[in-house]
């Protein structure tokens, strides 16, 4: 029936491996937070989080097998989040550049 012809079914093993990777990443991110990396600790923490997100999205949420449209939707969502953060930062990051209070 047309309903499940194109369906990909991952093996249990794949899922177990992904789970293990996620758990390991959790431990790593926790431990690395106790190491002094200066400003890089945020970067590292976020990088690990992004990797974890990718694992969940690609495997658990089946983005690997999804249509182009689904991928586009996902990327669009993240892009809009970036717009929100970056354009808000254009204000907060440039405050005080003019040496005039409030400009």
């Amino acid at each position: 029936m047309s309903g499940h012809v194109h369906e990909h079914i991952d093996s249990t093993k794949t899922y177990v491996v992904v789970l293990l990777a996620l758990l390991v990443a959790t431990v790593v991110t926790t431990l690395v937070a106790f190491v002094d990396l200066g400003n890089f600790s945020v970067v590292v923490a976020l990088l690990i989080a992004v990797c974890k997100m990718m694992l969940v999205a690609l495997f658990f949420m089946h983005v690997r097998y999804s249509t182009r449209l689904t991928k586009l939707v996902l990327i669009g969502g993240l892009l809009w989040l970036a717009i929100l953060l970056l354009l808000t930062l254009t204000d907060f990051a440039t405050r005080g550049w003019l040496n005039t209070a409030g400009k």
């Binding site: 405050r95 005080g96 040496n99 209070a101 409030g102």
Partner: protein, 330 residues
């Protein structure tokens, strides 16, 4: 009263004419396009009106040329609008170095203004003409906005921080002062007048007012609040000496520096722990809730007057820009 029908506000500051010129340009563009569109609609609607229920017009071919032309021309015009507006905005945002400074504090629902020389006014502001005046403003409660239409200036006044505006009046007269940001019940009552005066008249007015400059009042406060117990001129107290602090670049504990402007001094008094001076403990008490924004202003002026060049108000803008991206006024 009430029968006069003015169409333009008065041009009473140096920037007024510039803003009006920008207006003329914007109006010219708008009128052109409005007439173009209205004209085309009328013309086509009449010329091509339906004459028979059966008629079927030929479809007209769409071309890229036309589309590009009518995108690029408006785009070019908008870029002029952007550049022109931005250049005025730059000038509106940066007070000249020789500007005379006045403090403004907004509060539901009044304007409190303080001159360096100590005069305090409520809902009235006296200024000399032909001299740039810089307002350093904050609010005690919600957001207000300082607006003088005849000067074409407006700036929100935000609680918790300083904002700046400046203008140079060109004509003696009495001008409306409005609060332009909605601030609660009596928002429309938060109005007043700006009196622009000939310099000598202004001087007379100043002399007629209460004595005791802002910095003198600040000096008295400095003792009343026992700031001087810790801040000794020679630096032998628990806190650093405040002589020459204003305008300097202060090294902070934990790295980083900050330029000691009004915002920083204000923060040091109300929220001392936010930025701690290198080599000191964070044990200055907070004065938040104990003193008003006006008191803070007086203290700031007192500290300024301790600078190497006392009495000059603004010890130059020579200080280097702040390192890092943390804004100096927060």
């Amino acid at each position: 009263m009430g029968t006069r029908l003015p169409l333009f506000p008065e041009q009473a500051s140096t920037i007024s004419a510039e803003v009006d010129h920008l207006l003329y340009f914007l109006m010219a563009v708008s009128i052109f396009f409005t007439l173009l569109i209205f004209g085309a609609i009328f013309y086509f609607a009449i010329k091509y009106r339906r004459r028979s229920e059966q008629e079927l017009p030929h479809s007209v071919h769409t071309g890229w040329t036309l589309e590009i032309v009518w995108s690029v021309i408006p785009f070019g015009l908008t870029m002029i609008m952007f550049g022109w507006g931005a250049s005025i905005f730059f000038r509106e945002s940066r007070p000249p170095d020789n500007a005379m400074q006045i403090y403004a504090v907004g509060k539901q629902w009044m304007w409190k203004l303080q001159h360096m020389e100590g005069q305090r006014e409520i809902n009235e502001l006296h200024i000399p003409i032909n001299r740039p005046v810089k307002l350093l403003m904050t609010s005690e409660d919600v957001i207000h906005s300082f607006y003088v239409p005849d000067f074409r200036t407006k700036q929100d006044v935000v609680p918790g921080r300083y904002t700046t505006t400046w203008f140079e009046a060109t004509k003696p007269g009495k001008y409306h002062l409005f609060c332009a940001e909605y601030c609660g019940t009596n928002h429309s009552g938060m109005i007043g007048w700006v009196y622009a005066m000939e310099p000598q008249k202004y001087q007379e007015w100043l002399n007629g007012g209460a004595a005791g400059s802002l910095s003198a009042a600040g000096g008295a406060l400095f003792e009343d609040l026992a700031c001087n117990n810790c801040h000794k001129p020679d630096g032998n107290g628990r806190g650093p000496s405040l002589v020459g602090v204003f305008g300097s670049t202060v090294k902070l504990a934990g790295g980083g520096t900050v330029r000691a402007d009004e915002g920083y001094i204000r923060e040091s008094i109300l929220n001392p722990a936010a930025k701690v001076v290198e080599g000191y403990m964070a044990d200055m008490p907070t004065f938040q809730g104990l003193i008003t924004e006006e008191n803070v202003v007086q203290l700031i002026e007192y500290i300024k007057s301790l600078g190497p060049r006392p009495g000059q108000g603004q010890p130059g803008q020579a200080a280097p820009a702040i390192a890092g991206s943390i804004p100096s006024n927060r």
